[in-house]
Amino acid sequence: MSAAILVQASTASTSPGDPILNIAIFGAFVAVTMVIVFRASRNNKTASDYYAAGRSFTGGQNGSAIAGDYLSAASFLGIVGAIAINGYDGFLYSIGFLVAWVVALLVVAELLRNTGKFTMGDVLAFRLRQRPVRIAAAISTLVVSFFYLLAQMAGAGGLVSLLLGIDERIGQSVVIAVVGALMILYVLVGGMKGTTWVQIIKAVLLIAGAGVMTVWVLAINGFSFPALLDAAVATTGNPAILEPGLQYGLSDVTRLDFLSLGLALVLGTAALPHVLMRFYTVPTAKEARKSVVWAIWLIGIFYVFTLVLGYGAAALIGPEAIAAAPGGANSAAPLLAFELGGPVLLGIISAVAFATILAVVAGLTITAAASFSHDVYASVIKKGKASPQQEVKVARITVVVIGLVAIVGGIGANGQNVAFLVALAFAVAASANLPTIVYSLFWKGFTTRGALWSMYGGLTTAIVLIALSPVVSGGERSMIPGADFAIFPLSNPGIVSIPLAFLLGWLGSVLERRRESSDKQTEMEVRSLTGVGAEKATAH
């Protein structure tokens, strides 16, 4: 969603701050993280080091990295802007992103850490037929990562005009290419260790920056949240900003659409491949649990900050001024930073926004590369006979290819309305991955056919429904403005595709005569709950 909101206003003119200062602060971030990535990469020896950072991070470190991976520019700029302009509905949106972590904590994190090795495919294929299930898992991983990646890269283009004052398309393309090249370098050199450190540093900067601004906004209002709300209502002259409805409550269709989006968010998070892969970077299931606990606290506190910042921006700057600024809704947080702390605070916040994109795309890229190399190359093409060295080499080549595709795709999508891509990524994850994860872990009768029906059925339904929805055609802001083949009224497919994928998983399993290996079921169940035979940390 970030991307689109960002891109929406790429008619921008100039940045309110000092672009040179913004670039200098971002440059310092890149320099510091690069040194750390190079130092961390000296221990990258095995496949486990490259994909899973030797499983050597603590729960606290990994939890911070998860927050860094998850809180995209959308969460910060997008939600603050949405609250500043649409009031309560922006907050409503952020709640789904947080509650979703309960599913990750209770259902997925520990069982996944105990049974898998590097990728989501390890868990999905554990007790089913390896080749078909791994191929399906890899396809789903690549699709989700690609959508998410494209949205982030296109969002970088919108950020450039907002924060650096670069309005020409060619200049924005250069910045997208630079972001992509930096990302390739981080992931190529640092592997999962380097990626994790970038995410940790970014999470600390982002949450600290938002925290400072939050305290500042509250201090202006006598440390009273109701006083802040009063000030926001006074500036906007619109008491409706304190209630739901400004953004989502227009008609029955938009209400249903929000319900569909809410389902995708709350069920998709725990099935995002780049989130799942982070659980392998800790030594034990208990540390995986601690990671999620840390992540929940950090993410929850962060969204409370965005609530204060959103109403703070509404009170101190006002929705009209925000909507008129370059970047539109996305400029709320930067404008608030400028209002509070002048060009220096704006520079810091701008650098954090770029660091955010960088950290998120790095996490997506290593996940997609690991899935291709581990699930497709090593397990399917080489039938498990590839050496770890070959596998890591293929992963590194894949990183470069994905990075280049992301740069070209990001430049191409710059200026397009790609907001739906992030929501679609969540919907695909919830439809294609979650049913199979849940069934594998909790239902003895689940079979390979059930997994394939559920994964391909969920994936295809989600994508076809999006193609037939108003985001692609038939509306004023559709991707193809002239055409109209929008026979599906909602812009998020989750409400149809998620139940359908659960149904297909059940149906495929009960219709399959062939039973799965009960030995594997035994092994998976004992292993998932006790950690017997789970992958160990490498000793350094």
Binding site: R42, K45, T46, S48, Y88, F91, L92, I95, G96, L98, V99, W101, V102, V103, L105, L106, T115, K117, Q130, F225, P226, L229, D230, L242, E243, P244, Y248, G249, R255, F258, L259, G262, V266, R289, I296, W297, G300, V304, A378, S379, K382, G384, K385, S387, P388, E391, D519, T522, E523, E525, V526, L529, T530, G531, V532, G533, K536, T538, A539, H540
Partner: protein, 132 residues
């Protein structure tokens, strides 16, 4: 710099064939069944309740927004309180699960693991020797 044991076996989950008899004995043991029951007893209802609580929140916001507009204290309305309550319940369930897992799941899991791991290590040493 631990270059001592670079892991050279192919990186596929199904490479080692563990002692299935030992695993099956554990799976059918009362102790493991109790662990599984205690795990599901918390995880499934807690997930269901959290999702239902969230769904109630989203549905009320969409279809009965006037409920959210109910004033609670000054400019704080029920919607604001309910939204923050969603955050608070998420934190509460998280900490409750940590307490529950520490008390009712981890000790049993550690006990079974401590007994089973030497057995499996002995049996699977050939296929799985590189594990440190």
């Amino acid at each position: 710099m631990g270059s001592a044991a670079p892991d050279d076996r192919p990186d596929v989950a199904s490479d080692a064939e563990p002692d299935i008899e030992a695993l099956r004995t554990v799976q059918n043991s009362p102790r493991f069944r109790a662990l599984k029951r205690r795990h599901r007893l918390f995880v499934l209802p807690a997930t269901g309740l959290c999702l239902a609580w969230y769904l109630a929140y989203v549905l009320t916001a969409g279809y009965a927004p006037q409920v959210f507009a109910t004033p609670v204290a000054g400019s704080m309305n029920l919607g604001m309180v309910w939204g923050l309550a969603q955050v608070a319940t998420t934190f509460a369930v998280t900490m409750l699960y940590v307490w529950y897992a520490n008390k009712h799941l981890d000790p049993a899991a550690a006990e079974i693991r401590a007994e089973l791991e030497p057995v499996l290590a002995g049996a699977g040493a050939g296929a799985n020797g590189a594990r440190a």
